[in-house]
Subunit: 352 residues, 4 copies
């Protein structure tokens, strides 16, 4: 069996560079992709930090793109050698839960590098990756676009877009995004597609707020001022029309609630580890819409975002803080987890 280099889960804060078996076609609907770029996601950190776990030995990573190495018998329309990006997860689309638009219930589905009730699925922080249902979850990368141009389309941008879309931003609206990690920054980029008059960006770290500012947002450092008070001040005392929570914590959830005007939308895209107390006694007197969840309409979002990148209308490259060889993957995890060296989105390059 051929070997390859891969980032493998071995326990809390132990995602290790190892030799792993090189994947092969199993189902006729599979492809194998040679990974040229892969990125560490905030949700990979949840695994790294032990918030939840995958089976020992699982290759992690669901943000990756590369070159088609081999395709199964039922995969048509893709040639070996074509550059593709791969969706972060998949589902069979034929079982009962899939037909009911609940892909989370699919027995053959899951997210790369993540657990499922039926076992963990190997991910893409590796030299090669097996891609199930390849025809549906691979997308050709348009000519002229680099890996870096499209890297964030695999996960961060669709999630940010989902958050902005759920916020139902109308032209002229004011928007506040709580959190300037990669997903919060992508939410800011995507919020701008809906014609807001102002986008406020809230975070505690200046290096992240600097990137927000570069993306056109108005930065607010919540370690220096009360963010929601400041936002009210800057919106004629009214609060924003749309607040987006992109952290997954009670403090930012309340910040979003309190910065939002009486009739407003709160869109949650942060991943929470605990519950929050909802002050229904006051909320039920104001017209709020609170949304949450995961972007399940990727086949709609991803081509749209690629088109916008290709047309030069959006550019998420400022969010990439480091590009490192896969061999430095262990250091990269530590940097991102501990927010060292200005870490935002870190790209790993297998084969380098």
């Amino acid at each position: 069996m051929e070997k390859m280099k891969a980032m493998v889960y071995r326990g809390v804060r132990k995602i290790m560079l190892e030799d792993a078996p090189r994947p092969e076609i199993i189902e006729p609907t599979d492809a194998v992709v040679r990974v040229t770029s892969t990125a560490i996601c905030g949700s990979d950190l949840h695994i790294y930090n032990g918030d939840y776990s995958v089976d020992d030995g699982t290759i992690v990573g669901h943000e990756f793109l590369g070159v088609v190495e081999e395709v199964g018998a039922h995969v048509t329309g893709f040639e070996v050698g074509e550059r593709v990006l791969v969706y972060p997860g998949f589902s069979c689309e034929t079982c009962e839960p899939c037909r009911r638009q609940i892909p989370m219930g699919c027995e053959k589905g899951g997210i790369f590098g993540n657990p499922t009730p039926y076992g963990s699925i190997h991910g893409g922080q590796a030299e090669y990756v097996r891609v199930p249902f390849a025809q549906r979850i691979m997308l050709r990368i348009p000519e002229g676009l680099t890996d870096e141009d499209v890297m964030l389309v695999t996960d961060m941008l669709p999630t940010g877009y989902f958050g902005a879309e759920n916020g139902d931003i109308k032209p002229g609206d004011t928007v506040a995004v709580f959190g300037c990690g990669p997903v919060g920054l992508c939410a800011q980029i995507c919020a701008r597609l809906f014609g807001p008059s102002k986008v406020f960006a809230v975070d505690l770290l200046d290096y992240r707020l600097k990137v927000a500012e570069r993306l056109g947002s108005i930065p607010i450092n919540a370690s220096e001022v009360d963010a929601s008070s400041r936002i009210r001040e800057l919106t004629d005392g009214l609060g924003v029309n749309v607040a987006i929570e992109a952290v997954g914590a009670a403090a930012t959830f309340y910040g979003a609630l309190m910065s939002a005007s009486p009739t407003s939308n709160i869109s949650v895209i942060g991943i929470f580890a605990e519950g929050v107390e909802l002050p229904m006694q006051t909320l039920c007197m104001t017209n709020k819409k609170i949304t949450m969840g995961l972007p399940i309409r990727l086949p709609e979002y991803i081509p749209k975002l690629l088109n916008l990148i290709r047309a030069g209308e959006i550019d998420a490259r400022p969010i990439i803080s480091h590009t490192l060889p896969l061999s430095e993957g262990e250091r990269a995890y530590k940097m991102f987890a501990d927010r060292l060296d200005g870490a935002l989105k870190i790209i790993l390059k297998p084969g380098q």
Copy 2:
């Protein structure tokens, strides 16, 4: 000064039939209406039970209709003697908060029979009522419709409609309404306007569930079965597409959450006295939309609902449990507060 009979707030569980000054035109935009029918609202019970209070001596009631008795100089288009229904509240529409679509902030606005930061406003459980901004908040009752036909258009039906609309019900959707008080029953009537395949009605009291069934809902008695389990059973294990909370309590809020399918909407129209814990750690993995608030678009809802009643497409009369003379108002409050004698919506008739 002329006198009239009115239901007057005198303290907790003391809303008393008294002689009160008969109101007169104060502003040129006022009208005076002779009340022919007025109803007790669930929110009047909050005042009655001491959850919040109005100034001592305030005439209560915001659900009423009657006959134009007198109009101010700036009120055009209404003749003395015309039958009108009156919106439950008003705002000036010219101040800054009004222009920003936040009528709750209007200094000249408020809800009849309710407190405002500037003093309480006399309501319509009386022989006569002063109606500010009358031109905008009075609506002629179409010929051929009785007081009973349109009584619930003053408040309950628009609130139910708001709840159904917020739920974003699509044809074929399944819907669960938690609570079969007047507002929950109106939400069921209005939900049916959006073409659901099934409407489940949850309550603890059989006499209310009987009315729900008469309105076309599938009754579920939550004192006998676990409502959300039962609802999942009846929806092929999936849960409903839309859950409407029409009580204002943690138990029904969780019932709504738990009966809703992974991608679903929860619409809250109950008025809460306390907060609820939102299990964000699980919710953030499913695509939920939670909405709440008050129906501020009455000028859109009320004519629409009148048209539907006039066309025979909706009928809220089954929700009226009693029609009593105003002189029995004190007994009526007790009946409704203590859920005696099958009380649902109770109409009081001044002058009888």
Copy 3:
């Protein structure tokens, strides 16, 4: 080669009952269905009447349902012997036009019993039919529902639903449907799912208006009165909020335009053989939305409609005027084409 009975195209007004080869699995994604009921569509009449044609020898018909007889190797989740309804057409969903949501451009796609640029496709007015991409275009018929209950879900109801949805009907709206053939009647059934206050039904033939009335519509015989004038009268001089054209003729198109209020939607689902003059000089002063096209979102519509039938919320059986053995297919075509004997939807039963 085994033979079966089928309705075969042989020229203008020549759709003949013949012996035809019984179809077999060709692609592993195929199924073969034994047809238990099939219906004649208004668009079959276009072929019959020579408005357009299919290749000589083509089996016609795209409205059919039956029992799974055999499934290809890639078709999972269906058992031989299960009752299924079949969508009227199909596409590969993997080619470029399909990915762009333009299924009409798919080389492997088409409508049963209809021409494509690559040759005509055999249809389902026969004892058996080959069903390409079977997994996606077959849907199990829920237990307890007869063929007649669900027959119109194969084409007429989704088209009517598309027309109603395009009309963007809001609760309380008034609606006029021009045309009471099967598709117009289905549009009336579907319009009612959106909570209209009134649905007007316009036609020239009393027997069709009687069915419209039975479905809850207000009938208007355009051979006796000017339909749009009558509709304005019955809407307080205002015109309807939504007008649906379900014939495909200039006269009904103008009827729809003229019966619609200044701010209104005109939804066209009729199939036209010629252009119409649009009076833009007056239209551009009023806020109109005119929509047209074909229901391409069948995977969304069909399960929704099945659910509504199963729940007893809609019932299209009054539209079925005749049920005949397939052996009387030639007479059935003549009856429907010439509007004899009260013909509306005619069902043919193979094997009888």
Copy 4:
């Protein structure tokens, strides 16, 4: 009676600078505004060219802004001396047609400088103008904004916004605007608020296409290439998702139709003098939405657009080609009508 300078209608191609009576408060809901800037609209040219006419002696112009000179007794919240922009038209909001949201039917309403069934209304191309229902149709100009910054908010930008909104542009969509007069250019500015990947601008005149390009559009000169073929080429053969007609002519209407993809929206904001033939026989096979009309939701659009200008998100000043004293008004009309000297939007300054 005091006199002032004004542009007065005296016949075809005779809009003359004259002395006219200075207007005064008539109704208590009136204000008088001293005009500081007024612009010539394409629809003023229809009057100038004789396409339709106003009463002899009518002061023309509905695009203007200025300073509050005097307010009637019922106008609250505005101080003399405040800078305001004024909506192009008004309605009473209390009569039956107004309550039905059909302001065109209001007997007390109309558009400044335009005819009504009850006589023409004096407009704002003058030193002073009487503003009926002033409280509702005047809007304070935010500090820091010049007349030029907000001039196009009076009419052009809301119309362009209406066109873009009707087009239902989604992020990533491609858009084509036919016509680069002021309204077409404003449609391009507003289209960009909805996150399109590309906006194509079509016109015959290079000086207008240059402005389009400066606003971020891709210019296409229809005198040099077939515009819809070129647009298809530039959209991978597909056509645009949204086409906006901003001229009011058959040629541009067909250009819009032919450049639009099979599932697409055509939004018409041009004012037509004649009908167009709609090729329904082909259109009914593709999913099109065609909208048209006038922006009646100005109270929603205008504050939104002001906010966007104030925030620096949109800037319509490149559309202003000339700023002249009112005394050169006659020359200005000729320039704009005959497209001389690069004329686009021309501003006239009374009192200069």
